[in-house]
Symmetry: C2
Subunit: 141 residues, 2 copies
Amino acid sequence: MDEALRARWLEHAHRTLSSSGRRAGAARTAIIQVLARDGQCLLTAQELLDRLGPRGSYSSVYRSLDELCSLGLLHRMSGRDGVARYEIADPDRHHHHLIDETSGTAHPFNDDELERVIAAVAVRLGVTLTGHDVVIRGRPS
Amino acid sequence: MDEALRARWLEHAHRTLSSSGRRAGAARTAIIQVLARDGQCLLTAQELLDRLGPRGSYSSVYRSLDELCSLGLLHRMSGRDGVARYEIADPDRHHHHLIDETSGTAHPFNDDELERVIAAVAVRLGVTLTGHDVVIRGRPS
DNA sequence: TTATATGCAAAAGCTTTGCATGGGT
DNA sequence: ACCCATGCAAAGCTTTTGCATATAA
């Protein structure tokens, strides 16, 4: 959807990686390209590997995903099935997930009041917020 | 903590299981006892098995956990590490989780306004709510 | 008696890792 | 030249399953 967002993340990822002393190999370069294109919402390692074709392997995929998570460029979450899913971390455009229980599909959404309440809850609980996830499950009404 | 709650859930579980045509074997009986005692918040299958000692096996544990989830007596969620965690489902006393990033420990909490906002979001998105989870991560401030 | 519950051990699926090789800087 | 990145294959972990046996109803 947002082309500018993708380009910005791709650029940011390249810079962060190289300034952290890592080298740009062919596999990792392809991986972050695919992530920039298809990683807006809940991509599995297997799906990523499928889209890479012969340009990647299990080791390069999992190692790169770990690396990107450590650097804060990616978010990892595991769905109910226990399979890890990844999506690109965009500080400006953060979203949550609605799971349609009829179809099993996930839809991203965001809500300002939800963000506000979560911030308030963190204050009430006496913590500095470092992250949060909300999953809503429902059926079309 | 709430002794009455535990007894109520245990009773409810027994009734639901037998009325669904299942038989009460030794393993399953021990499993729901342990769950009633220690399953208020995020117990893994392995932890459950450890507490069962020789009274259970992997198969009985995983099969019973599945069964209890299907009957709505238990909630399954998977943490960031991908390992499934279970807690008893209490319709009256539902909670969310605060993860202290300093220690990695989870603390249950609830918040009425959060519930209200989530209900409002579901309406806005055009779904009938069937469930929801909130995870807040932070450090003591 | 008869279907279900259980335990063992094997299998399955996702993820990680050791090691030799290739490639970036 | 040096060290990091990559790919393969093996190993590791969690979870599931087939099958023979034990047991509840």
